[in-house]
Symmetry: D2
Subunit: 283 residues, 4 copies
């Protein structure tokens, strides 16, 4: 019964870290299939991602976690271990645009992500049919100024009841409150339709059109309570010319948005992202 364990760990750098980690993997009968390590020389911080295969009949998952807990404690490290057979549980928030949702659902059907999409939450009903075509539970919560806090609390409960690990904002046109965000630190992935930090806030394509840039972009980042300021996971760009109208920018941009968001979700689903301060280390 082969399985794969993936360790993400960060701590203050010192000698012997990789040695002690790989020693433990060796003692746990693991065969490393991928190991990547980064040292930030300014912060003298150590970051590592190690993936190893092991036989679950010989080595118990909880035992692996226990031993790494001891080691991480010794290093005063932040860490997590995930197993390939335990898919991350994902909720997707949407409004009216279908391109990002469609992309994620289609890719997931082709097994590009190692995730389970448990539910879709929307403040509109437009994408109910799309959700149902893929047999995923769709929840509609009509929000307004007065009920926002109450709705968010219902959503938090729903997410927790379903043991959601990751929330994807697939062009969700509402700003989440600090109370919501603090429940899911570095677990909410957003797509912003500009090359951040250019064109923060609303209508970035209009801003880009008016500024006359020659390239537009899209940025996927974790959500924090500073608007469009969270740690960036992935960005990409596309070239435009004076021939492109604002409508053309929106059309070209939505190709970027769905590809960049899909790549960010892929990285997350493969446990490749470590957050440190306002930055990500993407292995």
């Amino acid at each position: 019964m082969n399985n794969i364990a993936i360790l993400l760990l960060s701590c203050k750098d010192k000698k012997g870290l990789v040695y002690k980690i790989t020693k433990l993997i060796y003692e746990l009968n693991g065969n490393i299939i991928d190991l990547d390590e980064h040292v930030d020389p300014i912060e003298t911080m150590f970051f590592v991602r190690a993936a190893w295969s092991f036989d679950e009949n010989l080595t118990n998952k909880n035992y692996i976690k226990e031993l790494f807990s001891v080691l991480a404690n010794e290093f005063s490290a932040s860490w997590e271990i995930n197993f390939e057979d335990e898919k991350q549980n994902v909720a997707i928030f949407v409004s009216k645009y279908d391109h990002c949702l469609n992309e994620i659902l289609w890719r997931n059907k082709l097994n590009e992500f190692n995730i389970k999409i448990s539910l879709i939450i929307s403040n509109h009903t437009d994408l109910r049919t799309l959700a149902e075509n893929y047999q995923i539970q769709f929840y509609h919560f009509k929000t307004n100024q007065n009920n926002k806090n109450k709705i968010e609390q219902i959503e938090i409960n729903l997410l927790n009841e379903n043991n959601i690990d990751v929330i994807v904002l697939a062009r969700y046109m509402q700003i989440l409150s600090p109370d919501f965000v603090k429940e899911f630190p570095n677990k909410i992935i957003n797509i912003h339709h500009s090359f951040l930090p250019a064109f923060v806030g609303g209508n970035p394509y209009k801003q880009a059109y008016e500024r006359g840039v020659k390239i537009i972009g899209a940025t996927s980042h974790f959500v924090t309570n500073e608007l469009d300021e969270g740690p960036i996971i992935e960005q990409d760009i596309i070239r435009i010319t004076h021939n492109d109208s604002l409508k053309d920018l929106i059309i070209k941009g939505r190709d970027l948005e769905r590809l960049v968001l899909a790549r960010a979700l892929l990285l997350q689903s493969q446990n490749r992202i470590l957050v440190y301060g306002k930055k990500t280390i993407v292995f």
Copy 2:
């Protein structure tokens, strides 16, 4: 004696513009080799670049200009005509970094640009040898808070005496005063070492490093009196990762800077750029 004429013209759009322009070219015995036209549907503005070959023994340059002057008057158009055998006269401003200057001089030696580089002006002496290797006149003006206006006036005189058409700021680390800029409207090309409008002002690589972006850029634009706000000519980007230190960003960025600035100068030297408001039309 074959020559090529290049028309750049913009005016309010109406029926018959291309017809009347190409009729005149035909009557002037020209053979169009390249024609590109753009209509801005929001501003209802018309932009055109037409290049045609003609025999100077049969058609006089001044006669061409005269007839187009009449037509442009009829259209209330902004316009210019340039001839391939009259090279644009370029001055380059530099400080200490050599990469942009080196790139331009090397490309010019290989005849990539149809320009004449008449002089190099610097507030430092570091690049004198490089200028001299390419046999180009090098002027050093040491500037400080007190003499800035006076030095700029000397520079303006020097540029005018040499009939300079285009000024290239090849990582020139001084901000030109409004009095200087207004002497050369849409004729001063700058390279900014970021993907504008992200990271305006000083130390853009440091800003990019601290923000944790996954892509850095460079932007070439015409200089106006609003810092880093002039019409953008060309931009490009390069991917970075958490492995890249601030020093790596600077090294990768200088490749971008020199390529983007060289492309902007190429476009300018081929008379491909029209400015309208804060934007460029690049044919």
Copy 3:
């Protein structure tokens, strides 16, 4: 009743071509909104695309065609005129892979293409449901060695009865016979999953994997009777590393395939492609 006419024309280059074309457009009360012209200096061939708006109440479509027929005759030109309100009629051929079909149908629903998709033909039944979700007629023809000619004749009849203008091979895993191809010259658009001319023929991702390239590509081209040798419309690439398995190449590649094929179809639907010999001019 505003409409837009789009002329594509090519002929031997000589003086006055643009003038005579734009004169006619002017006399037909057209307002040019886009004009692009190219002269091949080696072949001395002239290529033009002109788009103009006109009022159908004032100018009759057939009258436009008649007058241009006379002019094209004078130039000994190849030419066609299309009108924006007459959508190109498209048939899509597929086998089992859904990514290209899904992409085209989704984009078409969002009105990115100015086309009508009339029917989908397949040698398998896998994509019937997808076709039906978008309410498009799906035809299944089971082909084998013995019935290939007969089936192709049925398909040709079906395409002609439906007045199909353009055929898109969206990862159709059959080679069309010369008899089929000659019925639709420069009207069959294929996507090949490599950066042509690298890796022609079968299994290009396997070929790329074994060669150890650092970049893979996709190529959309018109089909001729030389395999993978038709005029190229559009290409794009994506970077890979030693970490990418053959399966990763296939996953990354299918993103390319659907984007490149969609771009080629967009160019075709906007009447931007002229074929000359083995090459395309894409305006």
Copy 4:
């Protein structure tokens, strides 16, 4: 006295490899600053690059090499260790084109590479001045059909006397004989001016122009005795259109050539390349 050691090692994969390697680094008082590992699941081969800092007063370089020799022996591994303070010794072969040589010399002056360029060899004298501007020894060997073997033997002797580690063919227009190549296995870096395996052999830009591709490329690879078939180190591409003449392709292509070759040399100078069969693993 801080130094950095860099290990490149490959062997058949098995459990405990990273553990045993990092254990030894730990016992040698090294602090790992970069570690990257790859397992080829089809070949079950293990590849690793580890860089660590150490104090030369405490740990002797030869001692490091001795202990790793024992370990590599145990693994039946191919391996090498290099030290940051021992620069790779480079010879550059050129003919008449200056762009690649100019790029490498300029970057090296800015310390982008951790190398020593000891000599330049050419079958022409055109680039002697450029070599001398950078104070590098220039050797001219006029070759013809009759003296090729003799000249190559002189060159081999010259390279060996100068303890050359790496040979860069910077658009060297001669094909090296098998006898020459076998002296420097995986140590001769070439730049080919196409996107290999497209357009092998002579005149790739002409081939690309005639085929009508929309993208051109350049490829840097190690030289083997099969023309343009050696392990690929780095590739890049640039977009072209029908507007680009063959001359434009050459101009655009030389930008690619110099950047791709420079990147390959950078990777080599940082000991980031492992060769396995016809492929490279680039860490």
